[in-house]
Subunit: 501 residues, 2 copies
Amino acid sequence: MTELVDSYLFSKRRVDEDKHQYASPRELKLAIDELHKALSSPNAVTTDPDALRTYGSSENSYHLASPHSVVVRPASTADVVEVVNISRKYRVPVTAYSGATSLEGHTSGYPSGSICLDMSGMDEILQINETDSDLVCQSGARWEDINEALKAKGIPLFFPLDPGPGATIGGMIGTGCSGTNAVRYGTARAEWFLNLTVVLPNGEVIKTRRRARKSAAGFDSTKLFIGAEGTLGIVTEATLRLAPVIPTKVAMAQFPDVEHAVSAVQEILNTPYGPHIQCIELLDDQMMSAINNAGFIDHPYPVKDTLFFKIQGDPFCIKGTSKAVQAIVKKHGSSRFEFAPTDQEAQDLWQNRKYALPSTMAANPGARCWTTDVCVPVSRLPQLVLETKKDLANAGLRSTIVGHVGDGNFHALMLFHNDDELKSVSDAVHRLVYRALALDGTCTGEHGVGIGKKEYLVDELGEGTVELMRVIKRAVDPLNLLNPGKLYPERREPGKEESHA
Amino acid sequence: MTELVDSYLFSKRRVDEDKHQYASPRELKLAIDELHKALSSPNAVTTDPDALRTYGSSENSYHLASPHSVVVRPASTADVVEVVNISRKYRVPVTAYSGATSLEGHTSGYPSGSICLDMSGMDEILQINETDSDLVCQSGARWEDINEALKAKGIPLFFPLDPGPGATIGGMIGTGCSGTNAVRYGTARAEWFLNLTVVLPNGEVIKTRRRARKSAAGFDSTKLFIGAEGTLGIVTEATLRLAPVIPTKVAMAQFPDVEHAVSAVQEILNTPYGPHIQCIELLDDQMMSAINNAGFIDHPYPVKDTLFFKIQGDPFCIKGTSKAVQAIVKKHGSSRFEFAPTDQEAQDLWQNRKYALPSTMAANPGARCWTTDVCVPVSRLPQLVLETKKDLANAGLRSTIVGHVGDGNFHALMLFHNDDELKSVSDAVHRLVYRALALDGTCTGEHGVGIGKKEYLVDELGEGTVELMRVIKRAVDPLNLLNPGKLYPERREPGKEESHA
């Protein structure tokens, strides 16, 4: 018994168990042959080298990437079970893949060989329960398509999580995503996913809950898979909770600096009008300059730190809230407050926020862009922005800054033209993360860990918390077959940075 | 390797591992001696037989209960580490305890001996970050005291989870609680807990996150402990997110039957006015009759199924919402709509909802009451209520019904006077649970599993999901020392019911 007590957690013995024996080249070939037999529909299994490379890397990230060995396209949960069973039989890692919008190398291939499980074809809406405000879909469905489908059917409900365009439900679950709406609706880690159908590493299919909105029946098994980046199970279906569509108007305010802008945000959110704020987006002066120079707009804006608001409610609520917001931003030094009273004007104004990435690229022809995010308590955001701007200037780097400022979530779009500048950007991201940690923040607010942020987890959370993650991973996936090499560092090697391709 | 594949999950070998060797009577005595030495402050350790019985059972539940062997009252996280280390050294189970408001035997003692860890003395608010809308406290703090403290300091923020009076943050985390505010603010499984300090079974102290509002940095370790009923770690501190205090008014509407009331609720929640509804509570005709007969009010109400609403917002929002609610309830057959325009009138009207339990008891002198809850998709609630009323009438039982109807959460307060009626109530609860499961619901919406609902988990979730819980429990607490015998059934024994004392 004493032996068990001494060795059960955090022991050296565990480290050896990490050295998994994955499939040999011969076994990998056998696995691929068996996948061909198991998934019989045309194009369900491909080993085309171009596809393997494309699926194994990402245009959005500059982390180490390897091609997959095979790409499979399941059509059902039963197909996924087949794939997971074959993966286990031959010990071939499996990486789930769908919208391919992730930014931290989540879907890259495993160096010794891996199966890419492309879920994007499993994109059906299976059931809409309008009176219960919920919906059941396959995990390859895109959030935008779901909202379009609801609109087309005249159902006045929507799914409020809004990460990058093209993201799918499965990826949103895996990343624990959020988006601009998180100020009002929270993130994927709130209660938008009522129930998940999951294929476990042992091939068993489970449902994490039933369809009731609330349940106190045991561990929160649903949450176990949210943010797990496909390392604990493959989600094939999900029951989503929906929210009523509420009329929305857009406003814009400009400030002398980020500090003034953030103080205004804090005051607004803590008033009784706070819950009417659907989004608050910060665009820094560089971003506004990029918008002016990108050629998408008719009249240039003053180059100042700017907030964009979405305000929601019935006409009376919107009027009251807009009045309150205007008074508060004025108090905090805003020289310009613009409110779009009609839907069309609101849409036009919000376009400017949407132009963030294309404007950044258009204003800097020939450049490539590394997008990263961190998140800090809202009150610490001005310091983070100020110090980061200084640091980027010192490093001679160009970057625009946008942020879901209502949550303290900060995005930098750092530009580079060559390998030297890429190295410089990588170093700046590294410093940005430690700046956020020093302010009681996190290395990622919504993009996830993948490969890119692994090295920061121990410094952010402590060795004990990361080891707890490893303990759970080992218990659920003892052969380490689901998306190995992502989410947390296998071993602690202080000071060692990832190298970037 | 094949052996590992075959045996790693759901294997028979695991069953044997459940037969833990807990402390012998001699070892238990040594453990208690060591606890006396480790926690030196007066009254920190007691073995008074009355205390052991009181702490080991609950007036709120009628499940099997055993006295604890010792009650300890830690003053710090370091004290909790000492207790957990002694528990592990001598293999004595530890049950966390604080507000003692739980209803399913969560805190009862373990038959072969257990340490009751009374956290209620660790009730300090450690830090209030008003601008970030968060607060750090010890886990023994009561939610009511926290909200009183904020009010006393003139801080216009509050913590919106409102389970039973006297509940503490630690218990609310353990149970994954909710309350009347869940319609608007969600439950403990949403994002109200930003970070937890937890003592793991191995004695290590971890923090699950930092103070940023959002993080996508790995598994949702915070959620691992929410709803875990003290089986995975002892929570000693928590960072809570706060919400702005918003003016609230109260309204009441009466209906010909529950079906009409629920249809009205569904329609209201799916309109753009839905987010202004803070609470919607259903009181059935029996409950209204009990309120009339209990002697707390001046004028009796018509004995009809009734909804109580809390509507929040600025005066314009409340006016608009109240108008919309009135039109909808009228459409759904409400003959009476009462709106309390002033704060005092609102408070008076809401009192009637608050009188639910005392009115039930006062109207039935000499009776005792078994309170239970289930939860179903909102559209299934009328069928659940109708069938349950019939079933209770057939069984000759008296019960009032109240429900957080906006969430489909249903509470029955079943009355009994003797052991025969208690058996009859127990059987009726059993049938109620299976009725909820048949409607795609859960055996508990907010009270948790404890001992009382263990037997239903496999039928609700499937053997695979429950085994996943066991796998995680074994990995984190391999000696099964934290609150053993709660939360999930150790082994599946179909058809076997718990016996009730």
